[in-house]
């Protein structure tokens, strides 16, 4: 994974794991890889990976059972999906507003895009 330079890496990794949950690559109740496996996969130190998993625990996305491993918490997938869709819409709205579009114009453009046969099969 290519990391952005000015955002903590552990935050980027936590986000990546959340994306995997949203995309269905990881489901509620699934066991996560071990810290060591993740650290090799992301090519970061054990400390960075510890911080990433710590953040996911803090955000209630992951729960760790001592001696067993970390798991995606029940209900996480649905919750994250809502959260990430909200974030996406908000970001889109903010950017459109920055470009000087009114709410009506935004709505029109979205409608137009849909009618032009937009993506039925989102590839993510």
């Amino acid at each position: 994974m290519k990391f952005l330079e000015n955002i903590p890496i552990y935050v980027q990794i936590a986000n990546d794991i959340k994306d995997q949950v949203v995309a269905g690559k990881l489901a509620d109740g699934d066991k996560l890889l071990s810290l060591r496996e993740y650290s090799l996969a992301y090519e970061v130190t054990a400390l960075t990976m510890q911080r990433a998993l710590g953040l996911l625990e803090l955000e209630d996305v992951v729960e760790t059972k001592k001696g067993v491993g970390s798991f995606v918490k029940a209900g996480t997938q649905a919750q994250l999906k809502v959260r990430s869709i909200d974030a996406l819409v908000q970001e889109f709205m903010a950017r459109a507003a920055n470009m000087g579009l009114s709410k009506v114009e935004i709505l029109d453009r979205v409608r137009e895009a849909i009618h032009q046969g937009g993506t039925e099969h989102g590839d993510n």
């Binding site: 990391f3 330079e5 000015n6 955002i7 903590p8 890496i9 552990y10 810290l35 060591r36 650290s39 090799l40 090519e43 970061v44 130190t45 054990a46 400390l47 960075t48 510890q50 911080r51």
Partner: protein, 233 residues
């Protein structure tokens, strides 16, 4: 893990350190940075008990650096530490003979992975391959502290990547690794902390905290390494 207290060091009239104090924390991968000739190698060699400080003291887990701390420290040898006639196999054997903690099997498999043939003469290897051999030998000792002096300076991007992976694969977070480098770009994602040696002191920083401040580690380094405009005497 490593505490350096009021250490001074001179080579002839050149003062390298005049009362340096700092602590390297356990279980971290630490980048030791600073301009050329600022004393990075000297500091690593003092921690490894290859050079002695003039004043002050260095302790590893509370014990003063000396003969008995050497077995806890793996200092990366430079390619020219090996005799010209030595083959890859001989270098591996050399480590095996010298260090009881050397993981011979691991070394053999890494040699294979790195494309280093056992019967190849070290002096005929490319500079990059020589460096890879030195890195892998250093990492195949089982010790709590690793010191790597400019380990990837002569490596191309692919080798750099492989060496970094080998380093991560070889440690589990319990070891401390200090890596001196003047190249930040390829390494900053595997540094937990950086230590910047300066003429007038030292700066330590947590890399994730630097990024949390919206700055890249490289930007932070350039902003803090300082006084590059001054002529170096």
């Amino acid at each position: 893990m490593v505490t350096i207290k009021n250490v001074s060091k001179r080579f002839g009239k050149k003062v390298v350190f005049g009362g340096l104090s700092l602590t390297f924390k356990e279980g971290r991968v630490i980048g030791l940075l600073g301009e050329n000739a600022i004393g990075k190698t000297t500091l690593l060699k003092m921690i490894a008990d290859i050079l002695k400080p003039l004043e002050g003291e260095i302790r590893i887990n509370g014990d003063k650096v000396g003969r008995h701390t050497r077995e806890r420290v793996s200092f990366m040898l430079a390619p020219d530490n090996f005799y010209g006639f030595m083959k890859v196999r001989d270098a591996v054997q050399y480590y095996r003979d010298f260090y009881a903690d050397f993981d011979h099997e691991k070394a053999r498999s890494l040699c294979e992975e790195f494309g280093l043939e056992a019967k190849a003469k070290i002096s005929t290897l490319s500079k990059g391959q020589q460096e890879r051999l030195c890195i892998l030998l250093c990492l195949c000792r089982r010790v709590p502290l690793y010191l790597l002096d400019e380990p990837i300076a002569g490596l191309d991007p692919k080798f750099k990547h492989e060496s970094i992976k080998a380093m991560l694969a070889n440690t589990d977070g319990g070891q401390t690794i200090i890596i001196s480098s003047h190249l930040l770009r390829d390494l900053d994602t595997v540094f937990d902390e950086i230590v910047i040696l300066k003429k007038d002191g030292v700066i330590m920083a947590d890399c994730e905290e630097i990024r949390a401040g919206g700055e890249s580690v490289e930007q932070f380094y350039l902003r803090n390494a300082g006084e590059t405009m001054e002529a170096t005497a």
